[in-house]
């Protein structure tokens, strides 16, 4: 069979300066330039090879842009790499590295090409793609391998070759119907654990024993399909056993006094759900039951919001991991019958400037992780036509081996349009992408720690997304929902079909035929089909009479649909392959058999230790104050994220009213996003999306971190115009190994903080997720809690942004400032581990209600929350956004007699916002804050300087230029 190799070269050379620069950072200075060429390989899966005419037509119509590119076509009689290498030698490069996807990894471009060819009547074309890098410079073979492994090829999904890469078409192997029996009877505890480890089941001894005795009673051994199903269903990822476990919690206060032991019956129930029940808001439509939380939006529509993490896949393959993270959370929204309308993302990376030599073995450089994650998020969200409107990026050494990728999605659904009960006799229908060997063991893999070897062992846990297939699902499900064609719906996420069908059929039971699952390629064993986490699939319960209509819609949207079986009504899960039973389990054991684990948790509060404070006396030299502020503004976690955020479409769908950047130059930071959903422009309601996260504080005090994260998400929402009585919260915990008592103790404190804050703010949790075992080689990440908030803006004409608007206006500070430096940015910069962590503000809701009322009356010109870096950073950001100066006196800051000027400037007390007020409104404004802590700090000026005074004496002044340069920093390249 002939193979055509097509090299498509850009006339301009398509130089890759970023690769050259990155190679220099790896110490490979001899690399002078790197150019990229796209490679296509064409062959035929019939006896007839593609003709050269056909290849020429494909080049002209699909592969080559006549203005910028040219192609070279080489027929390959056989894939003899020697021949190709000699052909390559004719190019001007000194070295060639070619990178191709590994067999079985989705090659989207090749599939698009094959279908395009079919449209031209070239029916049996098979395509593969690869990338050629042409390098100049005198590089040794060892250096070439380092460039390839370090910069060009990710071993998890790709392969490379120095010289020509050999194409692999599709993925062929023989069909396998092998089902193993796994002998468990009479195994010792050690042998059981060995079995769990070997099969990557992530089940502990007690769970394995429970399974063993269940099969002892049945008098047989489990099949591999059954064992894998149990492992997925019982995994931390799917069942959140830590959050349901019974915990014996011991705590010592900061004076080392032991407090009485508490027994906690499930963190989720005791703290998170309890807060929702206590708050009892009537506008909550669904909390913790469905795949996403749902609140009321207006008379006709509800809003669904969900945030997920995709940490482990992103550590291994940043692009694919983040890509499928967005894909997964968007499917959670589809799974509550909602139309996805926006995305959010919060990212935590290791320091970008770490030297490659200091990097522990087995992890990707954080710069490469960031580049891949950011590209992966943009690629999926942009291609789905969803605006990515809110997020955060945080840098900390603790995320070096284990980055965090939080992906959020929001959807809109007509009231009462989400059916959740499958009926006996409903067909089990799978829609969307085909099933392959991708993402097998994702659920159990994410419930284990990462090690050096994870990269090589868990390649199959990583998937590549195909947003265009998902777009079809969005359209199809919306149409099917409106025609009421299904009785229940869920997405195929972690655990694949096993989880989706297992959960949906929990009450009725389900029968399924695996041979009917459409596959990407043959050769999958039954358990692999059953567990595959191949992307872009939904499972629906469809009454048999609706199948023809659903099929019609599926054809219209070009989505593959397959009937796999039925919800039987006998309460059993029966999985068949070619008619033979491969799994038969009562749902009662699958869902109720998991022994409730008992855990111990322990927490010791750290001492405050003021004696080690980095500032003493009363003096803050002007130079020092300036230097601290500029260092804060340029700190990567504070500095502008424009380089990242602009690669996401935040405008598509036309409903973004407050976008990530504000002010006349459209480059000041926004506190939150305000969105107006398409289809609701008949009234003035809109909604906000905001986030609160502070891992620095988590290292100091997890309780304070939780309270502060709730306050931050909440005040961000209010600062752009959300009604504080309509804010709903989501919790996402990323934590280390919860079987270690101190990790779990910190988690308990964080949950207690969540409860106390939610109740104080009268804000319910509507959804949440935990990602545990975030450790690399035994080192946990800093316990990290993300609080996301969605709030209703009653009148979109009264929204507010953070940029200063008009010189002469007054600047007020809302909230008390206390000497709270625990976990603050100031303490971090001075490497101080003491300090008081920020407490919950007094009566927080009162001030937020007053602020909202003032906003509704049009009294607030601009508003910005105080977070990392306190007052000084917030003021500077308002100046940058508004291109205006400000003159303030910090002695007016309310909260008491401060021991040192750094307190009003840099303390990170909660519940504080800056507000800009026009002079004409001052009286009414002040009256509307009667009995609340507000303080007039100064005025907006035209001077172009941020001037800070203390008791009328100038402390320091910085020009707009200086603060903007520090904050905007170097362009993200």
């Amino acid at each position: 069979m002939n193979i055509f190799r097509i090299e498509v070269t850009n006339h301009s050379g398509e130089d890759e300066p970023r690769i050259t620069a990155a190679a220099h950072r790896l110490g490979i200075d001899s690399l002078q330039s790197c150019n990229k060429t796209q490679l296509y390989f064409l062959t035929s899966n019939s006896s007839e090879s593609p003709s050269s005419d056909q290849v020429e037509r494909l080049c002209a119509l699909l592969l080559v842009d006549p203005v910028t590119e040219s192609a070279r076509v080489t027929p390959l009689p056989h894939t003899r790499s020697d021949d190709i290498s000699s052909q390559i030698a004719s190019t001007s490069a000194d070295h060639i590295i070619e990178v191709a996807l590994r067999p079985g990894v989705t090659d989207v471009a090749a599939r698009v090409l094959e279908r395009g060819a079919a449209e031209l009547g070239i029916l049996s074309l098979e395509a593969a793609t690869a990338t050629q890098y042409r390098l100049t410079g005198d590089l040794s073979e060892e250096e070439l391998h380092r460039v390839a492994r370090g910069l060009l090829c990710n071993d998890t999904i790709e392969r490379y070759s120095l010289g020509a890469v050999e194409p692999v078409f599709g993925h062929s192997s023989d069909a396998l119907n092998i089902v193993d029996r796994v002998p468990l009877a009479s195994l010792s505890e050690e042998a059981l654990l060995e079995c769990s480890r070997k099969r990557m089941l992530s089940l502990d001894a007690e769970e394995m024993r429970e399974i063993q005795s269940f099969y002892d009673e049945l008098g047989r051994d489990p099949t591999d399909v059954e064992l894998e199903t149990l492992a997925q269903t019982w995994s931390e990822h799917c069942v959140h056993k830590t959050f349901k476990s019974i915990i014996a919690f011991t705590r010592q206060d900061s004076r080392n006094q032991a407090l009485p032991v508490e027994e906690i019956t499930g963190l989720l129930q005791t703290y998170i759900q309890a807060a929702t029940e206590k708050v009892n808001r009537p506008w909550v439509r669904s909390a913790f039951v469905d795949d996403a939380g749902i609140i009321e939006f207006d008379d006709n529509f509800d809003l669904a919001f969900k945030v997920e993490t995709h940490n482990h896949p992103s550590a291994l393959e940043p692009f694919g991991g983040a890509n499928t993270g967005i894909g997964g959370v968007v499917r959670d929204i589809i799974a509550v019958s909602a139309r996805p309308i926006a995305c959010t993302d919060v990212l935590c990376f290791g320091p970008q400037d770490i030297s490659p030599d200091e990097l522990p073995a087995g992890i990707l450089h954080p710069a490469r992780v960031r580049e891949g994650v950011v590209a992966g998020i943009g690629d999926y969200g942009n291609k789905l036509g969803l605006p990515t409107v809110n997020g955060a990026v945080i840098y900390d050494e603790g995320y070096l081996g284990n980055p965090l990728v939080f992906c959020g999605a929001v959807g809109l659904l007509p009231k009462g349009s989400h059916p959740t009960k499958p009926k006996q006799g409903d067909r089990i229908v799978v829609l969307g992408g085909r099933t392959g060997r991708d993402g097998i063991h994702g659920a159990t893999f994410s419930s284990a720690e990462l090690t050096q070897a994870t990269h090589t062992e868990s390649g199959s846990a990583v998937q590549i997304g195909d947003p265009i297939t998902e777009k079809g699902l969005i359209e199809l499900v919306e149409a099917a929902r409106d025609k009421r064609l299904y009785n229940a719906i869920t997405d195929c996420g972690a655990g694949g079909l096993s989880s989706a069908v297992g959960e949906m059929g929990e009450e009725l039971g389900a029968e399924i035929e695996l041979q009917d699952v459409p596959l990407k390629y043959p050769g999958l064993t039954p358990w692999e089909i059953w567990l595959s986490e191949a992307q872009e699939r939904m499972v629906l319960a469809v009454p048999p009479s609706n199948l023809p209509l659903l099929q019609e819609l599926a054809d219209l949207w070009d989505v593959e649909m397959r009937d796999l079986g039925q919800f039987s009504g006998d309460g059993w899960l029966r999985v068949r392959y070619g008619g033979l039973a491969v799994a038969e389990l009562p749902m009662s054991f699958l869902h109720g058999g998991l022994p409730i684990p008992r855990r111990t948790a322990q927490y010791s509060e750290q001492t405050v230790d003021w004696s080690t404070a980095p500032f003493t006396g009363r003096d803050l030299p002007s130079r020092k104050a300036k230097e601290i502020l500029l260092r804060m503004l340029s700190h990567p976690s504070v500095a502008s994220k424009e380089g990242i955020v602009r690669t996401y479409d935040h405008e598509v769908r036309g409903g973004t009213l407050v976008r990530p950047f504000v002010g006349p130059h459209m480059n000041g930071p926004a506190d939150a996003a305000v969105l107006k959903p398409l289809g609701t422009w008949g009234h003035q309601r809109a909604f906000t999306l905001s986030a609160g996260i502070n891992p620095l504080l988590g290292k100091r005090d997890c309780y304070a971190m939780a309270v502060s994260a709730v306050d931050e998400a909440f005040r961000n929402a209010v600062s752009v115009g959300a009604d504080p009585d309509t804010v709903a919260l989501l919790d996402n915990f990323c934590w280390g190994n919860p079987t270690i008592p101190d990790r779990l103790g910190a988690l308990v404190r964080a949950c207690q903080g969540c409860y106390d804050a939610a109740v104080s703010y009268n804000a319910p949790f509507i959804s949440g997720k935990d990602s545990l075992y975030n450790e690399f080689e035994g080192q946990p990440i800093p316990g990290t809690l993300l609080i996301s908030a969605v709030g209703i803006v009653p009148d979109m004409r009264r929204i507010c942004t953070s940029d200063l608007k008009q010189s002469g206006n007054l600047i007020y500070l809302l909230g008390e400032t206390r000497e709270e430096f625990g976990g603050s940015l100031l303490s971090h910069l001075f490497e101080w581990e003491g300090g008081e962590p920020p407490a919950m503000p007094n009566e927080p809701l009162d001030r937020y209600r007053a602020l909202h009322a003032a906003m509704r009356s049009g009294l607030i010109q601009s508003c910005h929350d105080l977070s990392e870096g306190g007052l000084a950073v917030a003021l500077a950001e308002m100046c940058i956004g508004g291109r205006l100066g400000a003159a303030v006196d910090i002695s007016a800051v309310s909260g008491g007699d401060f021991t040192h000027p750094v307190v009003p400037l840099f303390a990170e007390s909660n519940g504080r916002l800056l507000m800009e007020v026009a002079r004409r409104d001052v009286k009414v404004f002040e009256e509307s804050f009667t009995d609340l802590p507000i303080a007039p700090l100064g005025t907006v000026t035209q001077t172009g300087n941020l001037e800070v005074m203390e008791n009328g004496q100038r402390l320091f002044a910085l020009s707009l230029e200086e603060i903007a340069t520090s904050w905007q920093g170097a362009e993200f390249e």
Partner: protein, 218 residues
């Protein structure tokens, strides 16, 4: 009026709009030609613009000779394209857009002041095969929109006023009859003043649609 909207058709897997352009040629070629020749308005936005360019409908042929719908030659003769942004990445930002004076798309002539709306693309860099090709486009009045600064002055290639490196700041072009128009920016994202990040009532993208609707009812 036919609007080909934005969106990543086929994920832009083989280059922006390329695969959808094939669909246009294979399935709708004759219908589309008939529609265009009848003088009805066609607007391509972002991916729709890329598709019209790559299918050869923009700026369109110089002669009116019939072409076979998938004849490779007609593709190879294409002299304009939209390629990778000069900074190598997708970018989303609001920009100002001036209607070219004397453009064949005369329906745009009475738009007041620059249009203010966002771009959101990775392959919006308008390029031509040669200097002559550019001169011809300009001389024939086929340039419809250029990127300008907030005062309406030419971007002269300056980033980010010209956000993608397009030659001669070209943001949109039209065909010789003036009824087929394509542009990279998204006028549909600025229909109501409340959508504008700068406030005020200026620069509504709505005006582009209103102008073209005039053609539809002409």
């Amino acid at each position: 009026m036919l609007v080909l909207p934005g969106g990543f058709s086929y994920g832009d897997a083989l280059g922006a709009g390329v695969r959808q352009a094939l669909d246009l040629r294979v399935f709708f070629h004759d219908e589309l030609r008939e529609f265009i020749e009848a003088g009805k308005p066609v607007l391509g936005i972002c991916n729709g613009f890329q598709t019209l360019v790559k299918a050869g409908f923009l700026p369109g042929s110089t002669d009116n000779g019939a072409r076979h719908n998938d004849e490779p030659q007609s593709m190879e003769q294409r002299q304009v394209t939209l390629t990778q942004n000069s900074r190598g990445r997708f970018e989303c930002r609001w920009i100002h857009l001036a209607v070219e004076h004397g453009a064949k798309a005369s329906c745009l002539a009475h738009l007041e002041g620059p249009v203010f709306c966002p771009v959101a693309h990775g392959e919006g860099n308008f390029q031509v095969s040669s200097d002559e090709a550019l001169k011809r486009l300009e001389k024939e009045g086929l340039v419809a929109f250029r990127y300008v600064d907030e005062h309406g002055l030419p971007a002269r290639g300056r980033y980010p006023i010209n956000p993608n490196g397009s030659v001669a700041d070209i943001a949109g072009i039209c065909n010789r009859a003036g009824n087929v128009i394509g542009l990279m920016p998204h006028p549909e994202d600025h229909i109501d003043p409340i959508q504008s990040p700068l406030g005020g009532r200026k620069g509504l993208g709505l005006s582009v649609f209103q102008a073209m609707m005039g053609l539809a009812f002409a």
